[in-house]
Symmetry: C2
Subunit: 243 residues, 2 copies
């Protein structure tokens, strides 16, 4: 690994630089393999070893380096056995049917990563994010997805504008709304989950047809649920209605 490559890896921790180069970093063979299987194009891979499952064309492109070098380049507290730089996939069109989760200015990388992982589990492949939502290629997000970022499509867009033009029912998670567990739900729907502290912003709220609520135990004193937990409970509800 050259000095320039090390510098490049460090710079890729910044969103600005990721956008500029249209590339992002994945650490650990377990996750890297998920991206390779999903057809992502690696620009460079450094590793301390070669898993037997790699295709021979990938194998020859891997740069074997000592662990101390990976440690230097890693963003993780506990560096893993490999680091790869991948090209971002080209922008796709948001599908016009099915279940779509929409995130309104979600800020916490761990929350977004967990949401992507949960979406992957329940087979929901599309997440629309407001432009101010934390970048899905942020290393903390990539890390928290445990490889699921390779299977789920994220679309960053002007969320109110998107909701205004879309031809699907739009739901939103609020503290006051219809009981999620008891209401009827369509197969095609957009569900908006808001920012950790402020919920859904008024400009987005304006395009929500139906407010939904995760019911709370009578007398319970918790004020709200964590955004990744709320998203998970909403997704399991749409999932269980499909089967």
């Amino acid at each position: 690994m050259t000095k320039a490559e090390l510098k490049n890896l460090k710079q890729l921790q910044q969103k600005k630089y990721r956008r500029l180069t249209q590339s992002f970093v994945v650490e650990g063979w377990k996750s890297i393999t998920e991206f390779l299987k999903a057809g992502f194009v690696p620009q460079k891979i450094w590793a301390v070893n070669l898993p037997g499952t790699l295709s021979s064309s990938i194998k020859t492109s891997v740069n074997l380096v000592p662990m101390r070098m990976l440690k230097q380049a890693s963003f993780l507290k506990h560096p893993k056995d490999a680091i790869a730089v991948f090209k971002m996939p080209s922008a796709k069109k948001i599908p016009a049917k099915g279940f779509i989760l929409a995130l309104d200015d979600l800020q916490d990388p761990g929350n977004l990563g967990t949401i992507i992982r949960t979406a992957d589990w329940f087979g929901f492949k599309h997440i629309v994010c407001s432009e101010n939502t934390v970048d899905c290629y942020n290393p903390k997000v990539v890390q928290a997805t445990m490889g699921s970022l390779a299977h789920v499509n994220l679309y960053y867009t002007n969320l109110p504008k998107y909701l205004q033009t879309v031809n699907m029912p739009v739901y939103g998670a609020f503290l006051q709304g219809e009981n999620l567990f008891k209401m009827s739900l369509p197969k095609s729907a957009i569900v908006v989950v808001g920012n950790e502290g402020n919920g859904i912003k008024p400009q987005t709220s304006a395009f929500i047809n139906t407010k939904i609520t995760i019911p709370k135990a009578p007398g319970a004193q918790a004020e709200s649920l964590n955004a990744s937990v709320a998203s998970a409970i909403i997704m399991q509800e749409f999932f269980r209605r499909l089967y």
Copy 2:
């Protein structure tokens, strides 16, 4: 705030010191108020202001200090308006009926905090933790509970031993088991959720009567769910069967 007090606050970030002094730190009036309402005994409170809702006896015990002092003492990136030291509640007996979540060596403070917050939402007041589970008075846990730690009882114990003696059905979350959404579930039950990386350890698993699984979409490639998400989905399932 004296130098000795500042040192004490810093030391309370360590589990050893918290156990020794049987006290823990809560930051921000919003959370502190939850602990006061729940009957926790404050040993000391420092704050930049006095909320109008405080009882007069508490008000007189608050030490008003400048923000720069709270900043020095705070463990948070964005320090809040108050810091309090509370006495830990005395040990209680684990109830013999109702829903009990059991955590087997959960390590991530954010996960435990989120689980406590979700339990509070669904009205489940009892969480049994293996001795190696992250301490619930860890400042990151306290922070992630958003005040819910004041409403939920945590019991640290030898988990296999507890499960061996208990007179309730014991469920465990596994990747292979009965479909959680379709199986019948009793009102009184213990459900074990395992460590983030290794799941439930064999010594604990030996006392589990029924393995449960959160169903995954056909063809989905995610290997597992985040521990706080899995716990949330299990809790919402037991909750919805109650109403």
